[in-house]
């Protein structure tokens, strides 16, 4: 309660300083109404746009995104069914559901993580989160022994994995992120190499465990887009739901975090606690997506940056939603093209990685020039 009051007082200060005319000045108003200086970069680049066209723009963006989502799903569900509805539809619905869960989980975790790290080129995947998940899942089998691990209920196994992941990722990345004095590129490089390190350690453990069972274990532990692990779909959806609710409840705090660590603390935000909670959410969401389809490095980067470009705002309610919708469109359309145009000749992950990798290099070069 006390914190809420602190924050709303901060509200009032910010609102009065920025000459805010919204209801934020009234005591007790909710944090969402803090008038943060929106998109400083865009605002300085563009002629000062009034509120009205911006709102209209958002309506257009979301309307077209919704249309795209519905269109993509309809396309995927109906393409080439040839009247075998009772066979095709349940299977395809299940796949679409999995793709939606994965897409939203990746998009939400990426947007949160980018706000945490204050930049737009770091994502949980690039920092090695999903490699860490695979490593932890492997370690668990390693410690238990593969026969014991196989006899355990997959749901329980998943829960334990996700729990481990949330603990380990939060601890590890709190340490790596440090107090923000490490340079951005150092962090990215550390992340990339940490991912490689986790990956090598995983394959090392596989070899040590039992070279004969290597391949079967590979299949059991590593999901991919071609072998979506649908047994975990239900519990993943629940976890995703919890993650999303938690994320949207924290949206006001995220909006404050965008201002940077110092300003967020000045505004009365319990910085360390908020970061820990957010990292827990990110780790949970990464567990969800990795358990279902395995690691995909560049999807989050693509959809988050596309979302920022489309919405041109720093408000997380908008960005989280737009990124989520974009991810669903990308995955469902990608899968449709893969199945019907390429006839499975290729993998969705490798297509996304080629496109996303080139985009990422372009982003890096642009950042370096700026």
């Amino acid at each position: 309660m006390r914190r809420r009051e602190d924050l709303s007082r901060a509200d009032a200060r910010v609102a009065s300083r920025t000459g805010g005319t919204t209801g934020a000045a009234t005591p007790g108003a909710h944090l969402t109404q803090v008038e943060i200086p929106r998109e400083p970069a865009a605002a300085s680049a563009l002629p000062h746009a009034s509120q009205e066209p911006r709102e209209r723009r958002l309506v257009v963006v979301f309307a077209s995104l919704a249309l795209l989502v519905v269109g993509a799903i309809a396309l995927y569900l109906t393409w080439g069914v040839d009247g075998h509805w009772d066979f095709a539809l349940p299977r395809r619905l299940e796949q679409v559901a999995a793709l939606i869960v994965v897409g939203v989980a990746i998009a939400v975790s990426t947007v949160i993580f980018q706000t945490l790290t204050q930049n737009r080129i770091l994502t949980p995947s690039i920092m090695g989160f999903d490699a860490l998940y695979v490593l932890l899942a492997t370690t668990l089998v390693f410690v238990l022994g593969s026969t014991v691990a196989e006899s355990i209920d997959p749901l329980l196994m998943y829960a334990v994995n996700a729990g481990l992941m949330m603990g380990a990722a939060t601890l590890l990345f709190r340490w790596v992120l440090g107090d923000g004095t490490r340079g951005l590129y150092t962090m990215v490089l550390v992340g990339v190499i940490a991912g490689t390190f986790f990956g090598s350690l995983t394959s090392f453990m596989f070899r040590v465990m039992d070279p004969n069972e290597f391949d079967t274990l590979m299949d059991q532990l590593f999901a991919s887009f071609n072998a979506i692990d649908t047994t975990l779909l239900g519990i993943s959806a629940v976890l995703l739901g919890v993650g999303i609710v938690a994320a949207y409840r924290l949206v006001p705090r995220l909006d404050v975090l965008v201002l940077g660590r110092e300003r967020a603390i000045t505004l009365g935000l319990d910085y360390d606690r908020t970061v820990t909670v957010l990292l827990l959410i990110v780790a949970g969401l990464v567990s969800v997506s990795t358990a279902l389809v395995g690691p995909i490095t560049f999807l989050g980067l693509l959809v988050a940056n596309l979302a920022y470009q489309l919405t041109r705002t720093h408000r997380h309610v908008i960005n989280l939603t737009a990124a989520g919708m974009l991810a669903v469109v990308a995955l469902v359309l990608g899968q449709a093209v893969l199945v019907h145009v390429l006839h499975f000749a290729g993998t969705l992950a490798s297509i996304i990685n080629v496109v996303g990798g080139i985009y990422f290099i372009a982003l890096l070069l642009k950042e370096a020039r700026a």
Binding site: R182, G183, Y185, T186, V188, L189, V190, V192, I193, A194, T196, F197, G199, S200, L201, S203, F204, R207, V208, P211, T297, A345, G346, T347, S350, I351, N353, V354, G357, I358, F360, I361, L364, L365, A368, R369
Partner: protein, 337 residues
């Protein structure tokens, strides 16, 4: 003698380390090589070599070629890394972090797909062309940006390598070669027998050539103007250096598979101890590279005996861990230098 000040004593100690280091490294390599000759599934001991013809056969057909292959691949990759560091003027540039290894893998895949049944020399040649093109692309990108952060440069290279890797994966999947590709990208010496490793001698010869012309590479690494001023053809020596690195990488990838991070960490550690003089550190770097690969391979043969762990996997774990330490300790001046 005793009245010497510390400032004059320091270079003496450094040069003494530099003088001792190659011999110490050579001794370690010798011991490890002997161990490598006698570790394996088949029982081979010194007495057996003279009395048991079967043991002698195993020794000559499998153990000796394997050990020689390890020594050649390890030393050549370390030298390739060292040359690349000097040419790019960045301590963290090596075949792993410049896209060279992944480009070579892509080349090998192309050779396999387009020229089915090509000879090993053709494959090496195509892989080399790809490795060279990939590295040149990387150098081109790096030279075009003005921002030369020591960390930024390898980051771009790693991602470029990732893109090459993803392209390779895409085509491998289409042609049912995913498994083969993952074998290529993970160095393994268990298949090395007489008649199947000899191409590695090319890498060894190239490493020796690198030593002979070490000073030219140092000059080229100083930059275009400096090199031209002292009469060194910058473009030619830059191209020569990159060709050496590409060739070594291609030969190793085609013959035994990729060994990640070796060309990165070995030169870094040796340079940390001995300083930056290319000609002086090159022999020690080569020996240390050989020692590390032989050590990791022995470890791989011993850990899950009678099975084996590929040396690429072990070097991957050790190498990425050491590289992490190298970047994380950035506060002290090493990485920024």
């Amino acid at each position: 003698m005793t009245s010497r000040t510390t400032s004059s004593a320091r270079p003496t100690r450094a040069s003494r380390t530099a003088a001792v280091a190659p011999w110490a490294a050579a001794a370690v390599v010798l011991v490890l090589a002997v161990v490598s000759l006698f570790v394996g599934v088949a029982d081979v001991d010194l007495a057996g070599l003279f009395t048991d013809p079967e043991a002698r056969e195993v020794f000559l057909i499998s153990r000796v070629p394997r050990t020689v292959a390890l020594l050649l691949a390890g030393s050549a990759l370390a030298v390739a890394g060292l040359i690349m560091q000097h040419l790019a003027r960045n301590r963290f540039v090596a075949p792993t972090t410049a896209g060279t290894i992944d480009a070579a893998g892509l080349g090998l895949l192309t050779a396999t797909l387009v020229f089915a049944g090509a000879s090993i020399m053709t494959k090496i040649l195509i892989a080399m062309v790809f490795a060279l093109a990939g590295t040149a692309l990387f150098i081109g990108i790096i030279q075009r940006i003005q921002f030369k952060d020591v960390i930024f440069v390898p980051l771009v290279g790693l991602l470029l390598g990732g893109v090459f890797g993803a392209i390779a994966e895409f085509f491998a999947y289409r042609n049912n070669l995913t498994q083969t590709l993952s074998v290529w990208m993970n160095g393994d010496f268990s298949g090395v027998i007489q008649g199947r490793y000899e191409t590695l001698w090319f890498a060894g010869v190239v490493a020796v050539i690198a030593y002979v012309f070490a000073n030219r590479f140092t000059a080229a690494g100083m930059g275009r103007e400096f090199a031209t001023n002292i009469g060194v053809n910058y473009r030619a020596w830059m191209a020569a250096g990159l060709t050496i690195a590409a060739m070594v990488t291609a030969v190793v990838v085609v013959t035994v598979g990729a060994i990640p991070f070796l060309g990165l960490i070995v030169p870094n550690i040796v340079t940390l101890m001995l300083g930056d003089n290319l000609r002086r550190v090159l022999p020690t770097t080569a020996l240390a590279g050989a020692a590390l690969v032989v050590f990791c391979d022995i470890l791989g043969r011993w850990l899950i005996f009678p099975y084996e762990i590929a040396v690429g996997t072990i070097v991957g774990v050790i190498g990425s861990a050491i590289f992490l330490v190298l970047i994380m300790r950035r506060r002290n001046t090493y990485a920024a230098a």
